[in-house]
């Protein structure tokens, strides 16, 4: 989605409210009031009534506290109770997303329907072309028998009056791997055996019913314990604010991070090792190698295209290298990866050197709660920026660009810009050897990490801001 919508904004408002209360240390008394404050009596409700709205907000907060909504055993558990449970818990889970069943509107199963624009014409191409004989005419109007219809869409293509409409289930439609589906009540559930954590369902749901479970409580606890906390910022960070990079980094530091490590510094190491690995593989007679830095892609291979598994680079991702650097430099510190990506949160769970993750949205909410104006920050900072090739990992084509600059001329790249049903078919062909290229870069988000689901600036604008800031720091 190029533009933020009200569902996104509600999530951000909740994050801001939560972070403010945590910051003011009034969360104990106030947390159960957030839904009431945001949907006061007498205001127009979004859903059937204000009570439903508040219930939805309550469960969204439960997700932001880091819980699976499915795990609720007693509906009377208050947010204050959940807050206590969150503070006491010792471990996180790799299930990074959860469906807020209260918010899921159980969108009707994706189907073709005849609207009242149907004129019952003589040609009736809808009925003639239906391969299943599912279209019949009742009182001069077409009707689709949903028990027989196979959703092929021929009727929609054929109708000269555009009288047939398709109503999709947005989350199911967005999921490239059929990992989200309905239960008997029509509520969506994520199948974690299939899920690749790309976050596309979350971005697609018009009700904001799919939420990322945040680590905000854990991060505040680390702050309270006065531990040293290191921010590991993804390369796309420089495209999140229309401010200079030093100002952005200084804002993060002011908030309570003792130091900043650019994940791009880890990317420098990924470039080094991945180029070597590619050369070795080519010398050993392999046909091709694919990148490994996008975690949604490596999950895709593991769960859905196992025939590609031996062809994926074994070089660790920039985040893994950056985590190592952080623990070498600051052995006792807490490490927090800050990025635009739901999949990285899943990957980080298995990386020992990364303790927590923070999305760019959460970072934004924390800055607001801390009253930090990025614009007012100092424009100078003592940091050695990672090289441009590494910074460009944020953009689709960036990994290829870096490896091309290092490898010999025999490298022929192919870039898969975005994982969807079509590119999955393409990858399956590549696995069979049907490609001219020997280096395949895959990014789950179209546009690369700059288009990550949690980005604050989206689309073309993100590219412009990225290029401007990138030029500034590399000059």
């Amino acid at each position: 989605m190029t533009h933020s919508n009200n569902a996104t904004l509600t999530r951000r408002e909740l994050l801001i409210q939560l972070c403010k209360l945590l910051k003011e240390d009034t969360i104990e008394e106030q947390i159960d009031r957030i839904p009431l404050n945001m949907r006061p009596k007498g205001n127009q409700s979004l859903r059937c009534c204000v009570h439903k709205d508040r219930a939805v907000l309550k469960y969204k907060i439960m997700a932001l506290l880091g819980f699976n909504i499915d795990d609720e055993t007693d509906e009377l558990t208050s947010l204050q109770d959940y807050l206590h449970l969150a503070k006491e818990r010792k471990t996180l889970t790799p299930k990074v997303m959860t469906v807020v069943d209260e918010a899921c509107s159980s969108c009707q199963q994706g189907s073709y329907n005849v609207s009242n624009m149907c004129k019952g014409c003589e040609a009736r191409p809808c009925a003639v072309n239906c391969p299943k004989d599912a279209v019949h005419f009742v009182k001069g109007q077409a009707e689709i028998d949903h028990d027989v219809c196979v959703n092929c869409g021929k009727c929609l293509q054929e109708c000269p009056f555009h009288a047939i409409i398709y109503s999709p289930v947005p989350c199911e439609e967005a999921c490239p791997v059929k990992a989200i589906s309905k239960d008997e009540q029509g509520i969506e559930h994520i199948d974690y055996d299939k899920c690749i954590y790309c976050g596309k369902c979350m971005a697609a749901c018009p009700y904001g019913a799919i939420m990322e479970k945040s680590h905000i409580i854990e991060i505040f606890q680390a702050w309270e314990s006065k531990k040293e906390i290191i921010a590991l910022v993804a390369p796309s960070i420089i495209a999140q604010f229309r401010q200079s990079v030093p100002k952005i980094y200084n804002a993060i530091k002011k908030m309570g991070f003792s130091d900043i490590i650019e994940v791009a510094e880890g990317a420098e190491m990924t470039i080094e090792h991945e180029t070597e690995e590619w050369s070795e593989r080519m010398h050993a007679g392999c046909q091709l190698m694919t990148t490994s830095c996008c975690h949604a892609y490596t999950e895709l291979v593991k769960k859905h295209i196992p025939e590609l598994e031996g062809k994926v680079s074994e070089t660790p991702s920039p985040m893994v290298y950056a985590g190592k650097l952080a623990k070498e430099r600051f052995p006792n510190a807490v490490t927090v990866f800050i990025g635009p990506c739901t999949a990285k949160r899943h990957e980080a769970f298995f990386v020992e050197d990364i303790d927590y993750t923070l999305s760019f949205e959460e970072l934004g909410a924390l800055l607001v709660a801390n009253n930090i104006e990025v614009e007012e920050m100092n424009n100078e900072i003592d940091i050695k920026y990672a090289n441009s090739d590494a910074q460009f990992f944020a953009q689709s084509g960036g990994v290829s660009r870096a490896i091309i600059n290092k490898a010999d001329e025999s490298l022929k790249e192919e870039i898969i810009n975005g994982i969807d049903k079509t590119s999955i078919r393409q990858l399956k062909q590549i696995a069979k050897g049907k490609t001219e290229s020997n280096f395949i870069e895959v990014m789950s988000c179209e546009g690369g990490c700059l288009a990550g689901v949690n980005s604050l600036i989206k689309g073309k604008q993100a590219v412009t801001v990225f290029q401007k800031n990138q030029e500034e720091i590399s000059s």
Partner: protein
């Protein structure tokens, strides 16, 4: 010669406005309809505390000094088109 009408759109660049949807308002320039394109100037403005001093919601913009809350690209375009239609340019 009549003086040319220019709509000066100032977008708050404060962190709260940025997070709450203001981040994408500068894309307004790419979305302006032909008929008003040359009449609109988009600029940023330092946070003027509309978020703390009013009960209105972010993101905030000023259009020729007139405050708009919960601003969106569509809302800004509509506002300007209405001014044009009703000749209420300020």
């Amino acid at each position: 010669m009549t003086e040319e009408k220019i709509y000066k759109v100032q977008i708050c660049t404060g962190t709260l406005c940025h997070v709450m949807g203001g981040a994408e308002l500068p894309a307004l320039e790419d979305h302006l309809p032909e008929e008003i394109k040359s009449k609109v100037k988009v600029k940023g403005m330092v946070c003027a505390n509309y978020c703390t001093e009013t009960n209105l919601k972010p993101p905030f913009v000023l259009i020729n000094g007139e405050l708009m809350s919960e601003a969106s690209i569509d809302k800004i375009i509509h506002y300007i088109q209405n001014c044009e239609k009703n000749d209420t340019f300020k």
